[in-house]
């Protein structure tokens, strides 16, 4: 229990720093594409986390991002929307026997298909919301849509990369 909390706090700090110090400074395709890898922290939260807790953690994570980006409410709302969808999605794609206690949302543990469905839907929802809110209007709807899509794909590739890099350690632990 304590180990899980500690691991999640460390993951939160590391991913947030990686996001604001490295990824936000990237200039991919003239900043057309911006990966938001910090959502990996939200994706990897324990599966048995109660709904209210995941919503609150989502709000706090988004708020932290907003402080760094001076964008009050933008990341906060995107993370809350994503976490609300996560509650329903987890029920929808649960294995037949339900989730075992202490099961972690990783590709090596849950299978690649499950993880891909889970992460791609949530990442896409988060990015779409974020990019549409950032625009404040539906002026450039399709341009923004494409931008969100490409950014979500980039984020997803980074998420999978992170999964494969940490999976060796995971399997050893069993």
């Amino acid at each position: 229990m304590i180990t899980t909390i500690l691991a999640n706090i460390i993951r939160f700090v590391l991913l947030l720093l990686l996001q604001v110090l490295v990824l936000d400074q990237l200039d991919l395709a003239n900043s057309y594409v911006v990966p938001y890898l910090y959502v990996l922290f939200l994706l990897m939260l324990p599966l048995e986390l109660p709904g209210w807790a995941s919503l609150l953690i989502g709000a706090v994570t988004g708020l932290a991002m907003d402080f760094f980006n001076s964008t009050p409410g933008m990341h906060t709302s995107a993370c809350i929307v994503m976490m609300y969808l996560r509650i329903s999605l987890l029920k929808l794609i649960a294995p037949r026997e339900g989730y075992e206690h202490g099961m972690r949302a990783t590709a090596s543990r849950m299978g690649l298909t499950w993880f891909l469905t889970y992460s791609s839907l949530l990442v896409l929802a988060h990015h779409l919301w974020l990019f549409l809110i950032e625009l404040h209007s539906f002026d450039l709807f399709f341009g923004t849509f494409l931008r969100a899509l490409l950014s979500a794909l980039t984020t997803l590739v980074l998420v999978l990369l992170a999964q494969f890099l940490t999976s060796v350690k995971d399997r050893e632990r069993g």
Binding site: L17, V20, L21, D24, D27, N30, S31, V34, G51, W52, L55, L56, A59, G62, L63, D66, F67, F68, N69, S70, T71, P72, G73, M74, T76, S77, I80, V81, Y84, I87, I133, E134, L135, H136
Partner: protein, 276 residues
């Protein structure tokens, strides 16, 4: 009654979701756009500290460029020094100048974080209220205007960049004096638009656009950009002018914050006048 509570308990996640999303959307849309980032911005001590730590590390990679720009600026100042002018007459009289008085003071600051690719952009500076900065001060770079301070903490300040549709700066054409507003709707960090310049004003590509002054933010005559294109749409009484910004917003290392020394006097006068 018990059923109601049971129902509320069953949809507790949705209720919490609605409360939280309401809270975040209030943050997003509360207040006027200029002061939107009142509490949540990067002038915060922790955030500013992390950004300036990163800046300390990444500064080394940009030293060559910074040196070049400082040298250019030095050369420019040297050109303006009295020693660079040959004296026309040999008799000098020392005058205690009571006609000219310093109106603006410049506080140099380092940009520790900046964005330029978003629909609305901000910068974070490493100077704050301890250095005499306060809200609504202008920020200029070596080549032109950069933005307006919107919040300060003791050691940091956050700036709304001119690359934001929230701020409109009063600008004028250097040649003719016709004035309009600088409004960033081009979504391109190198260009911006000037609106509200009447059609009878003669403008052509290459004309210089500068600040108008009098808005208590920028001194008059600070360069803003040069005219790229002028489009006249029939039925509208104003030019549609696109300008090239002289300040490269994608790489401002050092900037100057403009302190209007007569601001207090002017503000209190306007306050007295506006009272019934």
């Amino acid at each position: 009654m018990r059923d109601l509570f049971r129902f509320l308990f069953r949809i507790r996640d949705t209720l919490l979701f609605l409360v939280l999303i309401g809270f975040s959307l209030t943050l997003l849309y509360s207040g006027n756009a200029h002061h939107r980032a009142r509490a949540i911005n990067s002038s915060n001590a922790v955030v500013g500290g992390i950004y300036s730590l990163r800046k300390q590390i990444t500064d080394y990679t940009g030293l060559k460029e910074v040196n070049r720009r400082l040298a250019e600026e030095n050369a420019d100042f040297r050109n303006r020094m009295s020693s660079s002018y040959a004296s026309v007459e040999n008799r000098f009289v020392r005058i205690n100048d009571t006609i000219h008085r310093q109106q603006y003071r410049y506080v140099p600051a380092k940009v520790v974080n900046s964005t330029w690719h978003k629909p609305s952009n901000t910068l974070t500076l490493d100077k704050g209220s301890k250095d005499g900065l306060h809200d609504d001060m202008g920020v200029i770079g070596p080549n032109g205007i950069v933005g307006v301070l919107n919040d300060v903490s003791p050691h940091f300040a956050s700036v709304i960049s001119v690359l934001s549709p929230e701020i409109k700066t009063s600008v004028q054409l250097r040649n003719t004096g016709h004035y309009g507003l600088l409004y960033w709707d081009t979504n391109d960090p190198r260009t911006s638009s000037v609106i509200d310049i009447p059609k009878h004003a003669r403008v052509q590509a290459g004309d210089t656009v500068e600040t108008r002054g009098g808005d208590r933010i920028y001194p008059a005559g600070i360069p803003v950009g040069t005219v790229l294109t002028v489009v006249d749409v029939p039925g509208i009484n104003y030019h549609k002018i696109t300008i090239q910004l002289t300040e490269d917003m994608t790489r401002s290392g050092y900037v100057y914050v403009v302190d209007d020394l007569q601001r207090l006097e002017r503000d209190s006068l306007q306050l007295i006048n506006s009272m019934p």
